[in-house]
Amino acid sequence: MRDIRLTKLPRHDGPIDVAYLELVLRDLIGKFDPRNPNNDFAGAFVVASDGSATIGDDSRLASQRPLPLVNVGNRLSAQTTNPLSSTGTVSTASITIASHVLQCAGFTVSYNGGTISGLTPLTEYFVYAQDDGWPDNPGGAVSYAATTSPATAVASNNLYYVGSITTANSTPAGTITNITQANPGVVTVTAHGFSSGNTILISGVVGMTQVNGNTYTITVLTPDTFSIGQDTTAYTAYSSGGTATRVSSGTSGGGGGGWGFPIP
């Protein structure tokens, strides 16, 4: 697309009157009129006989797709679910990005999950990924990174901003001794110390393996039991083992996906 420039108007002596202004405006509007063969797009607007118009310059714009409006820190998420969670120790933390779907205008993009390790606990990170498949084949397996600078997350083309999260610190884990086949399933962890509303990551369970690697927002029933809000009646029976670890979830931002727009 060429730069928009005003036509060189005839020399005008004297005060600027209405007639002159009209001349200027007509010229300016004509630059945008697709019916004008001398428009500043030099025929880039191709008008069909039915009156419809397409951009036929070098087809660059014709191949573009609408992008969801997004800015770093935008709390209006276009993701189907907040994919970010964090676990940590006293000295290091990790961010887990769950597999998720990004809803865009007219199409969806599925992203595989990933993990970013070796981060600083209790620190706000902005998570992003490089989507080399954009625009023809976006999504799938991508490499995630985390930065404390929000500008970095959207600094260049083909970057997908996932969201922000404050990393967790020490998360004492509880040993699971039972999980019921019920709706919802109930987990037994002696003296778990959790609170209702906590997000719990379950891992290492033998038997009811369907719960492994998943996070659940729990409801405390007793000091030794809590429900996970998941129907486990059809799951394989619990056999042994397992750990329940409290994790933190992305709460600030936590979504709003989008890509950087290639500059022609």
Partner: protein, 74 residues
């Protein structure tokens, strides 16, 4: 199942990126991003990170297989 682990590129050169996959299960592919600084000072090591990645991928495959089995019963 055999998990294949390869090094891939990523958006930040300060990270090492490794990707694990199982043939036939593209949805189970997972990528792990490791700060080079943590590898340099010994806080993290590639072997441990690789093992964690393999475990993630294996669990994802198990979940997919369980989902497929459940679909057979519908």
């Amino acid at each position: 199942m055999t998990v294949t682990v390869t090094q891939v590129t990523g958006p930040d050169p300060a990270f090492l990126y490794i990707r694990g996959s199982v043939e036939g299960y593209p949805a189970a592919t997972r990528t792990r991003s490791i700060p080079l600084a943590m590898l340099a000072d010994g806080t993290l090591n590639v072997a441990t990170e690789k093992a964690a990645l393999v475990a993630d991928v294996e669990q994802a495959v198990i979940n997919l297989q369980a989902a497929a089995a459940a679909m057979q019963e519908i």
